[in-house]
Amino acid sequence: MALDQSFVGRSYPPTEPYEVGREKIREFAEAVGDANPAYTDAEAAKALGHPDVIAPPTFVFAITFKAAGQVVADPRLGLDYSRVVHGDQKFAYVRPVRAGDLLTVTSTIETIRSMAGNDILDIRGEVHDQNGEHVVTAWTKLVARGAEEA
């Protein structure tokens, strides 16, 4: 079933702040096997010009995807999440996420399309820090596959 086009452009209220912790960054870096010292050693990060350890580029997805859950779970939109797969993902960084950040996400539905029986939804998540500064934008394309023939 095609999704309601009137949801295009709709923004959802900013999420509660997520505090980026040093140990969470370390855990993520270890999980992807990435030994770059900028993720775990504040001195190494400072030598590169960062005020504290930074997070790997895709770390922020956990935060933006949780925020996108507001959209996905909106009963008025009517997306069948059991049929959803992740199509595309993109990030544009103003600066890297770093330890101590308090990040809020504002999600907006950018486009809704119907193609070959699938619903395709583009969600943009704007991530800001505790000073209101823009940190990163994440674009997530979700594809809800059409119901299979019985």
Binding site: E30, L48, P57, T58, V85, H86, Q89, Y93, P96
Partner: protein
């Protein structure tokens, strides 16, 4: 931000050092915990097969995280990445054995852009199949 590669030293076609990343079931369990993505298709073979997959598959975001390492290890400073995007074209299937799967990632400079930035196009393969499409990063060099 301090990339260790100089903009002046790269040309369109410059190849980044390729890398291979092993993925076992244990890798996926660990990534699930670190990322908070506990979708059972990434750890439960029975569930994965019930929904029509050949076996447990890696998180797309895990593959995305590995692929950008070719860029961040080259640039030195992960904070030099300005943009990064991928399309998830095929799943990385991870069998339940000691070897698991392998993701092979290569990259080359596709364009020199303004402000000391370059676009790197990445190629990510597993079991002979391309697993990411349109995989591109813009990185600021020194």
């Amino acid at each position: 931000m301090t990339a260790q590669i100089s903009y002046a030293d790269v040309e369109v076609g410059t190849e980044l050092p390729a890398q291979t990343f092993p993925v076992t079931r244990a890798t996926l369990v660990r990534y699930a915990g670190a990322s908070g993505d506990f979708n059972p298709i990434h750890w439960n073979e029975r569930f994965a097969k019930e929904v029509g997959l050949p076996d447990v598959i890696a998180h797309g975001m895990f593959t995305m995280a590995e692929a950008i390492r070719v860029v961040t290890d080259w640039a030195g400073d992960p904070g030099a990445v300005v943009e990064y995007g991928v399309r998830f074209t095929r799943p990385v299937v991870v069998p339940d054995d000691e070897q698991g799967a392998v993701i092979e990632v290569s990259g080359k400079v596709a364009a020199k852009l303004d402000d000391n930035t370059v676009r790197v196009d990445l190629l990510a393969m597993s079991a002979g199949q391309k697993v990411l499409g349109m995989s591109r990063a813009v990185v600021r060099l020194s």
